[in-house]
């Protein structure tokens, strides 16, 4: 894993001291709120409905056991005993006191964590495939490139005040688990005809008020040119992005106003002026950063361990968990284990301090001390020996972390919504809780297969509702909570935006309505079809009928 160098440590220590001073000056009244607000946001500190909220970046979703324990410590000491994993592979603490923030930040800094650039109009935490380095289909570990981008974009003077926030995601596999097409820039490592590895560069994706799927502006970018090309894109955006209108300020608006070809041309012109300059990446730099992401030294393990076979036959619950939460690993004898943070009826993405501490211990015992955070708000142990799966499952089950629902109907993504968020129109969490229980039951009855339900409490779309097979968007109708339903979205390789099904549904009807849509699918599906496949085949009409009947 990447470890901070001296520069990183010094910088963070300075920043913690600086922010501590700013907080003291705010508390004494020396700084006004107007002066202080941008300073706290630069450090990931928001003010929400009930308290301050501290957002911590988890670069490319990778956590060491020490970092997981630091998060547990902050949850216990400065929050109400839990934290919330978000769709940006970040962690949010919802009950933070301003006067305690400097100490919390110092504690996090000791574990090489912070909230810098988790807010504001800058380049945000770069996200990656949660199976980076272990997916059997992977071409190259995307985290090397995320780390290179992190170093380049941290406090980049030219890009600290962009027209709007800027999100980059990287995948190293043909199968996109990082939703790269709904980011401002999506990067996909692939091979060209000559067999060289480089990036497909996609620009202008995003959700929110005006959702777009990103357009490819370069099919193949040699690796050593990554930073100069990114810099060229950011320059074009910085210059032409709509600073006059916050709703039109994201790069997606620019890309779709000018067209992908025009953007590609502008970027190319900018890039040609600097491609062989200081940003060209020397192989030695790439190699040095790659060493931080070298795979662990995997001891040889039995690829068909008898204890695994026996446990599978003996225990149907274990067999079910294996089917839904365990995936093949690139090294024989190992597996990738997904840990569901969606026990039916619980708030999606929440994790208690006790669970985090216990997971840190388990990661050391079973996963080389490494845990990943997914944009679906779950966790992953990336390197588990198959022979350890039965005992790991028992340990996770005892922590209520073995819900066998990864990718299934009750694995719902939900933003904090009106229960916490000051921007919300409607609640997300209780809808997710009730819907999780309802769809979990339907799944056991009908084996629904892969079904992605995503809920956002407002148009900012933190719950990614546009790319849910079923998306719910909370809207306010005369002070009442309503939910607009979209169908047919996907964040995967077949990325698409959902279409609005019809009039919004009231809070007390929304669970029944979605259940009815899913029942409709059960009646219509053909061999092996997912909800999304059936919807794409039959269209919206039969679902519209159900919506109208249920409203």
């Amino acid at each position: 894993m990447y470890r901070y160098d001296e520069f990183d440590h010094d910088f963070l220590a300075e920043r913690v001291a600086q922010f501590g001073d700013q907080v003291a000056r705010r508390l004494s009244g020396e700084l006004t709120e107007e002066e202080f607000r941008p300073l706290r946001l630069m450090n990931g500190l928001y003010l929400q409905l009930h308290a301050y909220m501290l957002r911590i970046a988890i670069p490319y979703g990778t956590l060491s056991a020490t970092q997981l324990r630091a998060l547990a410590h902050v949850a216990r000491r400065y929050d109400n005993g839990y934290g919330h994993f978000t769709t940006r592979q970040n962690m949010q603490f919802n009950w933070i006191k301003l006067e305690e923030v400097p100490q919390a930040m110092a504690d996090l800094a000791a574990a090489e964590m912070h909230g810098i650039q988790t807010s504001g109009n800058c380049i945000r935490n770069v996200t990656a495939d949660q199976w980076a380095g272990v997916a059997p289909d992977e071409i190259e570990d995307p985290r090397v490139w995320c780390e290179i981008i992190r170093q380049w974009s941290t406090l980049h003077p030219e890009f600290s005040f962009l027209p709007r926030k800027f999100k980059i995601a990287v995948t190293g596999s043909p199968h996109d688990r990082a939703a790269v097409r709904v980011h401002d820039i999506g990067l996909r490592l692939h091979r060209n005809e000559a067999g060289e590895i480089g990036f497909e560069v996609m620009v202008g994706g995003g959700l929110g008020r005006t959702p777009y799927i990103a357009k490819t502006i370069r099919e193949f970018l040699p690796k050593q040119d990554l930073l100069s090309y990114l810099e060229a894109i950011l320059r074009v955006y910085n210059q032409l992005g709509r600073r006059d209108n916050i709703y039109k300020a994201r790069i997606k608006i620019l890309v779709h106003a000018l067209g992908a070809e025009k953007i590609a041309e502008l970027v190319e012109a900018e890039w040609q002026q600097m491609r062989d300059g200081a940003l060209k990446l020397p192989q030695a730099t790439i190699d040095a950063i790659s060493t931080h992401f070298a795979p662990p030294d995997y001891p040889t393990r039995d690829p068909m361990p008898p204890q695994l076979m026996a446990a599978r036959l003996r225990d149907p619950d274990f067999a079910r968990w294996l089917r839904s939460n365990v995936a093949p690993h690139r090294v024989p004898g190992y597996a990738i284990v997904s840990i569901s943070l969606k026990p039916e009826g619980a708030p999606p993405g929440d994790c208690t301090a006790g669970q985090m501490d216990a997971l840190a211990d388990l990661s050391e015992r079973y996963s080389f001390g490494e845990t990943r955070v997914t944009h679906e708000q779950n966790l992953v142990f990336p390197h588990v020996a198959q022979e350890h799966l039965p005992e790991l499952w028992r340990a996770l089950d005892a922590l209520e972390l073995a819900t066998p629902n990864i990718g299934l109907a009750s694995d719902i993504i939900a933003c904090p919504g009106l229960d916490y968020c000051s921007l919300a129109n409607a609640r997300s969490i209780p809808v997710a809780q009730h819907l999780g229980q309802r769809l979990g039951a339907l799944d056991r009855q009908h084996d629904l297969g892969n079904l992605q339900v995503k809920i956002s409490g407002c148009i900012n779309a933190c719950g990614h509702h546009h790319v849910g097979h079923i998306g719910l968007l909370g809207v306010d109708k005369n002070g009442e909570e309503f939910y607009q339903i979209t169908l047919g979205g996907s964040a995967a390789d077949d990325a698409s935006l959902g279409a609005i099904l019809g009039p919004a549904v009231a809070y007390d009807k929304v669970v029944d309505t979605v259940a009815s849509l899913v029942e409709g699918y059960v009646g219509l599906r053909e061999n092996g079809e997912r909800f999304l496949d059936t919807y794409r085949r039959v269209g919206a009409a039969p679902f519209k009928e159900r919506l109208n009947a249920a409203r």
Partner: protein
């Protein structure tokens, strides 16, 4: 039932919601909220609230409406009810403690 006006904010030092009381202080208890006759009065108080420093300094004060039914007073909007009463969902930590 009648509608009255009131002022709320978040307390600077810890961010918790507070309510302007009749005597001009701030209380974390919604039950202590002072009622005002007009929106203009509430807005004027809210506009001046940010200038006060010290232990009880507040941030982002604004006017809200409240429903008054005899002795019972509650915020009109769901958002303000959630601020006053806390999240409508049990957070995971509490669910785990309870079980």
């Amino acid at each position: 039932m009648t509608v009255a006006h009131a002022v709320t904010a978040n307390r600077l030092r810890d961010g918790i919601p507070v309510y302007r009381t009749e005597d001009g202080g701030w209380s974390p208890q919604f039950s202590a909220v002072g009622q005002l006759a007009t929106a203009a009065e509430a807005e004027a108080i809210a506009a001046a609230a940010g200038a006060v420093n010290g232990k009880d300094a507040v941030v982002g004060a604004y006017a809200i409406t409240v429903e008054v039914d005899g002795a019972a007073v509650r915020p009109t909007s769901l958002r303000e009810r959630i601020r006053a009463e806390g999240p409508t969902v049990q957070p995971l930590a509490a669910m785990r403690k309870a079980s």
